[in-house]
């Protein structure tokens, strides 16, 4: 019943197999469709309802009014937990999830990003009717 070295043949087989390790930065950095990575903000769709701010579990997003019907988002990627709740909460689909996960930074200030819309002179293309 007992058998010392039971794994011998299995390990010897692996001598002739390709290693399972992925050569990370060069290949295998693709994430499946729908992976929850960095969020993408579309300022032209935002109506400033602040629902995302209210639901964010880690206070990572701020929506600031910069002009009439013009909003910018301040996203702190260091605080963001990539749960995607803001995407679910947004009524106008102004926030979208991307599968970008390579966000490591040496400089912590680069983790805070601000997404601004077009300058106020051009009207937002997707004007909401019943905001």
């Amino acid at each position: 019943m007992k058998n010392p070295g039971k794994m011998l043949f299995e390990v010897l087989n692996h001598l002739f197999k390709k290693p399972a390790t992925v050569n990370y930065p060069f290949d295998g950095s693709k994430m499946p469709k729908g992976f929850r990575g960095k969020i993408l903000f579309h300022p032209e769709k935002c109506i400033g309802c602040q629902l995302c701010v209210r639901d964010c579990p880690s206070n990572a997003i701020k929506i600031i009014k910069i002009a009439d019907k013009q909003f910018e988002a301040q996203i702190d990627l260091g605080k963001c937990i990539y749960c995607g709740q803001c995407v679910d909460s947004c009524l106008k689909k102004a926030i979208e999830i991307t599968s970008d996960f390579e966000l490591a930074q040496l400089d912590p200030t680069k983790l805070k990003i601000t997404v601004k819309g077009e300058p106020p002179t051009t009207p937002p293309p997707n004007q909401p009717n019943n905001a």
Partner: protein
């Protein structure tokens, strides 16, 4: 005189030995990784590790005895390097050969183990002390089968000199086959000496961090690791010389290549053993050695005695 110095320091002495030892560590790690379906380190990894360690500061714990703590790695390294010059590599003669050299080599190979004990014990850290005690406990388990296994061919050749043992093999070419049990016994015992899994009890990472080596850093740790690497080569060369007498008369170049193959084969066997077993407990290891390995060694001695009594004479 100058040539002797070249032999000792450069080839096949210290420099060659160090380079070969580091490369053998790479080979061992590569095979280990491939068997585990991993990529493994690049070829310069052990060398880079060595350089990195040498460049780092040596820290001596305040509670440790600085003299023994510093001396232990250096003596260990010296002992294994000294042992190497008495081992014949690709011909029947070594650099310095005399009757009884096989005994001297075996004792020189015991010194590192004792140094690991002394270094670990005088580190005074609790993990080190447990590791040190385990090192010595383990020594009592593998040392006797190792001696019995390695001295069995000497019994056959009726000489305590490796050169003469090899000469005996040239005269009786097929006698190595009778010593296969001794080879297996010596391989297991040497594996225990090198403290590799499943016999890595003295440095069992998940229990006592790094055992006797826990407090070592910088150059001293580099020496300790180098000692283990060189010990592996010296041990493998010794086994190759005593149990695998092939290519002894084929000239230096072919002989040297055959020698490399023999050593790497032994290292390869070690890598496989490291891959397919779980670490034993110290009590299991001692029971294993005394219940299985020592009786095997005795069988080998008995075979050789019978051979000597009946066939040769």
């Amino acid at each position: 005189m100058l040539l002797d110095l070249f032999y000792i320091l450069v080839f096949p002495g210290f420099l060659f030995l160090s380079a070969f030892a580091l490369w053998a560590e790479y080979f061992d790690r590569l095979v280990y990784a491939r068997l585990q379906n991993r990529v493994g380190p690049p070829w310069f990894q052990p060398t880079a590790d060595f350089i990195k360690l040498v460049a780092k500061a040596d820290l001596v714990p305040t509670a440790a005895n600085p003299t023994f703590f510093r001396l232990a790695p250096i003596i260990a390294l010296t002992a294994v390097c000294t042992a190497f010059i008495y081992i014949p590599l690709w011909s029947t003669s070594s650099l310095f050969s005399f009757n009884g050299d096989i005994i001297v080599i075996l004792y020189l190979l015991t010194i590192p183990t004792l140094c690991f004990f002394i270094g670990g014990w005088y580190s005074t850290s609790l993990y080190c002390r447990i590791g040190a005690v385990r090192t010595v406990t383990q020594l009592f388990a593998y040392e006797i089968p190792l001696f019995m296994g390695l001295l069995a061919p000497a019994l056959l050749a009726n000489s305590w000199s490796i050169t003469e043992i090899m000469q005996f093999y040239i005269d009786h070419p097929w006698f190595w086959a009778f010593n296969l049990i001794g080879l297996i016994v010596s391989l297991i015992a040497l594996h225990g000496k090198l403290e590799k899994a499943p016999f890595d009890i003295p440095e069992a990472e998940t229990e006592i961090v790094a055992g006797g080596f826990t407090e070592y850093s910088g150059r001293l740790l580099a020496f300790l690791r180098m000692t283990l690497d060189i010990e592996m080569i010296v041990g493998a060369s010794l086994l190759a010389a005593i149990f695998l007498p092939f290519g002894l008369q084929s000239g230096p170049v072919v002989g040297f290549l055959v020698y490399l193959v023999k050593v790497l084969l032994i290292v390869f066997l070690f890598s496989i053993a490291r891959t397919i077993f779980a670490r034993m407990r110290i009590d299991q290891m001692i029971a294993f050695c005394w219940q299985y390995v020592v009786p095997l060694a005795m069988v080998q001695l008995l075979i050789n005695l019978i051979l000597k009594g009946i066939i040769i004479r």
